[in-house]
């Protein structure tokens, strides 16, 4: 972290797959600079040898019993899909560039 770091909102929005209007970018750029400026406060602390906390609860993974259950049905899970083909495939726009397919 350093005061010289300048966030490039356009680039970060690409990473996050967010379409932003030009005026949105300007506003977000200002907001980010202010918020990141505030976060620089953390530089004051010496965090050498401190173990990071990812999770407050001291839990570890365990194996559950291998028991069959009944998940919600296919039809229910597909009810929210924006478009279906043959009632069971989710319709998506073309994935690979090139001529349109049907």
């Amino acid at each position: 972290m350093s005061g010289n770091t300048k966030i490039d909102v356009s680039y970060v929005a690409e990473l996050a797959r967010l379409e932003l209007a030009p005026e949105e970018k300007v506003k977000l750029q200002e907001d980010m600079e202010e918020i990141l400026g505030y976060i620089e406060l953390l530089e004051k602390l010496d965090v050498k040898d401190i173990v990071p906390t990812a999770h407050a609860a001291p839990l570890r993974n365990i194996w559950r019993e291998d028991k069959a259950g009944t998940p919600p049905g296919k039809d229910i899970m597909l009810e929210n899909a924006p478009g279906l083909i043959d009632d069971e495939l989710i319709k998506v726009p073309q994935v690979l560039p090139g001529e349109g397919m049907s």
Binding site: A16, R17, E19, P52, A56, A57, P82
Partner: protein, 495 residues
């Protein structure tokens, strides 16, 4: 039939008594609440969705059970409102976002499943800040909920609808979720009681994730007993949530009942000196806090000064960790399996960009950008890793403090409810969460209780008790004793 005046004084415990004595039916009770909602919700706007027929049919089933002597619990037939980020099978779950405008939940969240198993009537979806990101409910994509004490003020957030619905007596109790104060802060602003359980105490299965290591579901009600009773129902291990703790639930309301009429002799209450040296704390809040400390001392509690030395870093850490987790969690909104799909997307990538760019609101985009940035290549160590390390220091502050005291006393918020539009700068809004945020970072439990009235605004002021992880029994008992002895007994707006 219950009169409108009696309805205002009703809580979960007294509604349960009326039902048990057969003085009212569940249909009668739900009709009274629906009539109240009809009367006030045009102004309060706590509910995004109410399915009247569905409510009355649940109530009729409850009455049938009771008639046959087969009621599922003392709370069978009592309505509860659900925050719009908690799934109820077949009902909308928009998270107050346009991106989920048409979404219907395919299954029940674990908390809702457990409420239904005890016969509670699932009553409407409450408004919130979009994806639980905000402290005023102003970030809802649909409408602004108003504070029932003063309609020109915010109800707080993000569970603003859940707090306002209880304060306005549209329901006796509700569920909210708390990532950085989203139950406790609106409860304080609306003069109701809000409980954030220990991280892992309540299953998150079926809660739309904001920041997975901080989110926790909890109840909002008129009393400590009511929140304890709901925690009894919704708490306990759930195999569907890998972060769910093994501890059983079910004895919280009993602990509260047993503590009734008691005192606080032998209880050590810590007062963090850093919390009272913050500039932002308003005189009206300070006055109520001083009054509250006097009450605790008069009840026999020993109050000691403690230190939480990393308090000033909590908000900075929170806005790294919560936004990093949010940017990952919200990546699932890709417009493929659900969501409002733009019609002009020519290929997959443009679908993602357009759908997310148009579907998410301002604050959500702001946090996704910040979270993506702090996780991005070259900045991870400087922001995210450093944030996690300071989180350790904050957690250690609490654990060290609990070596010296049983419970920590703190304000819930630096000010009473503010006016709409008053905090337009995002950072200024974030700073309003200074007293609640550290509790989520530490993963411990806390409760916000109405403690008095701010003289300058005539608005309720809330205080917090914070206890060690899994310390809810003691925290709720101390809260009950405080509640019985606070200056104002009942907080009911004139609305």
């Amino acid at each position: 039939m219950i009169t409108p005046d009696a309805l205002k004084k009703l809580d979960l415990a007294s509604a349960s008594e009326l039902l048990e004595k057969r003085e009212i039916s569940s249909v009668g009770l739900c009709e009274a609440y629906l009539a109240r909602t009809n009367e006030v919700d045009g102004n309060v706007k706590a509910f995004l969705n109410i399915d009247r027929e569905n409510i009355l049919s649940q109530a009729a089933e409850s009455d049938k059970r009771r008639l046959e002597g087969k009621e599922l619990s003392p709370y069978d037939g009592i309505p509860i409102a659900i925050k719009d980020c908690i799934s109820v099978s077949g009902q909308p779950c928009t998270c107050a976002s346009k991106i989920l405008e048409n979404f219907k939940s395919p299954y029940d969240s674990t908390v809702v499943k457990r409420l239904k198993e005890k016969g509670l009537v699932i009553f409407g979806r409450t408004n919130m800040d979009e994806f639980a990101m905000g402290s005023s409910c102003e970030n809802s994509a649909y409408m602004k909920t108003a504070n029932p004490w003063d309609l020109s003020r915010v109800p707080g957030g993000s569970s603003g609808g859940s707090a306002a619905s209880v304060a306005a007596s549209e329901v006796p109790v509700s569920l909210g979720s708390d990532t950085g104060g989203s139950i406790r802060q609106p409860a304080a602003f609306c003069g109701v009681t809000g409980l954030k359980p220990t991280y892992g105490r309540v299953s998150r299965y079926g809660l739309v994730a904001f920041a997975s290591s901080l989110d926790q579901i909890g109840p909002i009600g008129h009393s400590v007993l009511d929140t304890a009773a709901i925690l009894d129902i919704i708490g306990g291990h759930d195999p569907l949530d890998s972060t769910s703790l093994p501890e059983e639930s079910g004895t919280f309301a009993d602990a509260v009942r047993k503590s009734s009429g008691g005192n606080l002799k032998g209880v050590k209450i810590g007062i963090p000196k850093e919390y009272f040296n913050i500039d932002a704390i308003e005189p009206g809040v300070k006055a109520v806090m001083e009054e509250s400390v006097n009450i605790l001392q008069a009840l026999g509690a020993e109050t000691i000064e403690i230190s939480l030395p990393h308090t000033e870093y909590a908000i900075a850490v929170y806005y790294i960790i919560a936004t990093a987790e949010a940017s990952a969690n919200l990546a699932r909104f890709d417009g493929i399996r659900y969501g409002v799909r733009p019609s002009d997307a020519s290929d997959l990538n443009s679908l993602y960009f357009k759908m997310r760019g148009h579907g998410f609101g301002k604050e959500v985009k702001r946090r996704i950008i910040l979270g993506t940035y702090v996780l991005s290549s070259g900045y991870y160590d400087a922001y995210y890793l450093r944030g996690q390390k300071v989180r350790t220091l904050i957690r250690n502050d609490f654990m060290n403090a609990f070596q010296k005291c049983d419970i920590i006393f703190a304000p819930a918020t630096p000010s009473a409810a503010f006016k709409f539009g008053e905090k337009s700068d995002p950072l200024q809004m974030y700073l309003a969460d200074i007293f609640t945020i550290a509790v989520n970072l530490a993963g411990t439990c806390a409760i916000s209780l109405p403690a008095g009235i701010d003289k300058a605004t005539s608005m309720p002021v809330g205080m917090q008790f914070i206890a060690p992880p899994l310390g809810e029994h003691k925290m709720l008992s101390v809260s009950k004793i405080f509640e019985e002895n606070r200056g104002i007994k009942a907080f009911i707006p004139s609305l």
